[in-house]
């Protein structure tokens, strides 16, 4: 019955944070276009105008939840700095870890779901992959065209995330994370029909 009182609420609940959190959920599940400010407001139990009040616009709301957590940079640096061997494995493991952990998964999902249609999200994804994820690694490549090589590695991670978490292709979606870590090379050799390319060739080099 009682329509919610208006004006400032008693108690110091951090509503801004609550809105941001529900926005993450909504954007993660329906993407940028599929999410309305009104729906976010509904989830947060709040008037739509309040969302606009705190974040200015839908676009800026999205930008707010796209921010890369600070500690991530450190983790990536650690991966880059470690021993040369198994660096690929460690990167994949770190990446999958981000997706398996509830807190970060939603943000990633929101960005990936939206990147294909929302330019700002696409820019965010480019930044995430090329600067944050691969930037620190490029310097370690002693190959011709290291930028391209690193970007191709990034494209594998992107493909893995999309197929496993967004589009949910059965075989990949239901696999144990550790089955995905030994990088895909180990599958390709089989196409030559020799069946010897089992695993771990990278490690043994």
């Amino acid at each position: 019955m009682s329509s919610p009182r208006r004006g400032r609420r008693p108690g110091g609940a951090d509503t801004r944070q609550a809105i941001l959190s529900h926005a993450r959920t909504a954007f993660a599940e329906r993407g940028y276009d599929g999410t309305s400010l009104r729906e976010v407001a509904r989830l947060a139990g709040v008037d739509p105008a309040l969302v606009t009040h705190y974040f200015g616009s839908k676009d800026r709301l999205f930008a707010a939840l796209m921010r890369i957590p600070d500690n991530l940079s450190a983790q990536i640096a650690a991966v880059a700095a470690g021993p040369d061997a198994e660096r690929g494995d460690r990167l994949v493991r770190l990446f999958l870890g981000l997706w398996e952990h509830e807190a970060t998964r939603k943000s990633l999902m929101a960005v990936f779901r939206s990147a294909v249609s929302h330019p700002r999200a696409a820019e965010g994804l480019r930044g995430f992959v090329s600067d944050a994820l691969l930037g620190p690694l490029v310097a370690r490549l002693s190959l011709p065209n290291p930028r391209l090589r690193a970007a191709l590695a990034g494209s594998q991670l992107v493909g893995l995330a999309i197929v496993r978490y967004i589009v949910r292709l059965e075989a990949v979606a239901s696999a144990d994370p550790e089955e995905l870590v030994p990088d895909p090379r180990s599958s390709f050799p089989s196409w030559d029909g020799d069946g010897t390319g089992e695993q771990g060739r990278l490690r043994r080099r």
Copy 2:
């Protein structure tokens, strides 16, 4: 001034086909959510109701342009049937060819752009990757867990397409297709820092 006459148009223009074609363009550029029937109608120079008349609903319009062209199955079968060596290269080349060719690119783009938010498109993508693209190849794998291995190969293709054509990560988007064909293994070895993993290891095995 003159508003378009109503009633049947003189001359036997195939309007249905025109609508479908413009719909492809629109869905390819803005995804399912970002495209309106009214916009498609505008592009086709036609009343919005005509779109509905021919295709029934937005969803069914999308379904219509998602159909996989028949000759594709044959091409894939050819890739699968060829010699074991270089099968990976041939698959990548075929896949990239589909994207580089104007006619097929739009359909693929429409599906990829929409798959992340529209369930029907996601199902289409799953079908395309797992049945059409990889189905014929799975049988050739003499490895444990061939379904997973094939699906992981598919995820690489998906990642490549998204990074190159949708999100447009500079290094990959501007590369010559042939630079992308030698499968990504050739980049990973460099992470071990030995710099010897140049190219063509697959072929030489």
